[in-house]
């Protein structure tokens, strides 16, 4: 099973959607690559990923997250990489936002749209968050 994911939003909910599917796929022997673009880059930004915002008006879910004992995004990022999930940061967005490869989780690679398309063209599952 080959899974291609585009992460283009930078909120806490977005992060859980992306990393839960990615780790679940990797745990099911899937090959997973995530292309982080625009605000999605927040999800792998070393500092940014520790303080991802809840959607406005949904802050009360913080307690629910704590009670449900879901892992932190930091843990999910580490776990994803440990399980072989490949991170690709979008070069164009990095240029626009003035970000460097070093700003992102270790092991993140940099590429453009064609890099993602080359991977996704024979993927079994393609998801966009």
């Amino acid at each position: 099973m080959k899974v291609a994911i585009i992460a283009s939003n930078g909120g806490l909910f977005d992060a859980y959607k992306v990393f839960n599917i990615a780790t679940a796929a990797a745990a099911t022997d899937g090959e997973v690559e995530i292309f982080f673009t625009f605000e999605g880059l927040n999800l792998i930004h070393k500092e940014g990923l520790k303080q991802l915002p809840m959607p406005e008006g949904k802050e009360h879910f913080a307690e629910g997250f704590a009670n449900a004992n879901v892992p932190s995004i930091e843990e999910l990022v580490g776990m994803s990489q440990e399980m072989g999930v490949k991170f690709i940061a979008c070069q164009m967005t990095m240029d626009v936002m003035g970000l460097k490869k070093e700003d992102f989780a270790d092991g993140t690679e940099v590429g453009g749209a064609v890099t993602f398309l080359g991977y996704a063209k024979d993927a079994d599952i393609t998801l966009t968050f």
Binding site: M1, N20, I21, T23, A24, A26, A27, T28, D29, A68, N69, V70, P71, M79, M83
Partner: protein
Amino acid sequence: MENVTKTLDAKGLGCPMPVVRTKKAIEELSAGEILEVVVTDRGSIADIPMWAKNTGHEYLELVEEGDVLKHYVRKGGKTTDKEETPVKTITNEEYLEIADKGPVTLIDVREPDEFAAGHAPGAKNIPLGQIDKRMDEIPEEGDVYIMCRSGGRAGMACDTLETFGRKNLIRVAPGMGDWNGPIE
């Protein structure tokens, strides 16, 4: 359920942790062995069977005990069920009695790090993956005892050796995972 080789306690963890932990835990088992996964995540009722189906493992049973869910999964791949293999098997205790009476040939087919952490006195380490290449180190005459952690790898080693015509093999099961004898 009987014959559980390993229990994974993932109680209190939410999605996707139960499957992530299950994957890691089953990697440590041999084909045919049974993993017990103890969780409280109700999403796992659908997730673990689906995970097993897609990863080639056999989902056996769900047991609910109040809020606690126990899943049983048999690791897929080449099995070494006792019914299917003609490999002669003795227990740890039977082996210890034999070893007490005089020198024996014992091959431990676990990985070198497992072997280094503790093994039966006099055991020689030939990891399962090297067994076909190092067959000349295994005597063709006299009883040869084969051991691993739980019996799975020892069974596969015996199968491999038997396909090369060896007939003097005795599996010691379960092996070092449940060992009450002396350790070197």
